[in-house]
Symmetry: C2
Amino acid sequence: MTVLDRVIGRLSKLPGLGKKSASRIAYYLLKADQALVSSLAMDIMELKSKIKTCPICGNYTEELPCSICTDTHRDKETICVVEQPKDLLSIESTHEYHGLYHVLMGVLSPIDGVGPDDLRIRKLFERIDGGEIREVIIATNPTVEGETTALYLINQMKEKSLKVTRLALGLPVGGDLEYADRLTLARALQGRQRIES
Amino acid sequence: MTVLDRVIGRLSKLPGLGKKSASRIAYYLLKADQALVSSLAMDIMELKSKIKTCPICGNYTEELPCSICTDTHRDKETICVVEQPKDLLSIESTHEYHGLYHVLMGVLSPIDGVGPDDLRIRKLFERIDGGEIREVIIATNPTVEGETTALYLINQMKEKSLKVTRLALGLPVGGDLEYADRLTLARALQGRQRIES
């Protein structure tokens, strides 16, 4: 097996790439500038060593805590709860939200054996009990697991004197935050609904 | 700019990847096993240093000459001329062809300033003049440049006592007359085959 076959094999295992797209990329790299190829390889190598998880919000970051948590211009009274760091990125790209985040790093999924203790839920309540937080926006995906997780969180927050909101269903049901266009996501943020308890 | 942003930026410049697919891959790599990520990076790094061009057929290979040129079981009297190494790979995947190859490494394109001397055409005629070759299959793409290149080669081969053939043009297998473009349909008609009964 040549390096070329190995590269194609490894690339085709990445999400969204099949054998054809993987070989297109491999042949492109073969023809590309050596400097470009080396820096791609180096950056991939550094990815896991340099990127850490923010101890406060759970987002991927190079500095601890992350630049969002330490940003003094952001609204410290609002937390937006998302499943994954990429969801945080999607919301940031709308430029509609200026509060803080909390990344759960997953969703409740009894079938896969993922319970509340496997997510960053305790940490979320520590932050809420810290006192400053007035609103929690639940921005899990509108999927079965996302809804289950949202309901669980809403239930747990009932006794607290918090405004708990949920992204408006302007998002297509069964969809994924990652694939929502920015306008739809922005509308969903603007139209978030208060949950009466 | 974090390593994560850099990786996303570099990945999104690869063929077939946009910003969304690139960030999906980057986040996947962040969550993936360190060993997997390192070996991907290493293989990419080795790609350009280990892979060479076969001095005979022009295909990418680790050994010189390549395994196809040195394979004693292959038909040494037939050469299939392709534009790029990936085209060779496509033909190999049919398991229908057992002859040799010749990779041009491009097509004639006066607009881009690519003339016969920029391709591996002289090398092709050296092989033909070597004596053993009896059939040349021209398998350039059915595009304007591919056709131009084919016509140029066919012209140059006129005086040689060679069987020169071209890949058949027609309807794709499993295709539909309704969705075939007019040119393809016209070529399919021109190239219609008599059914022997």
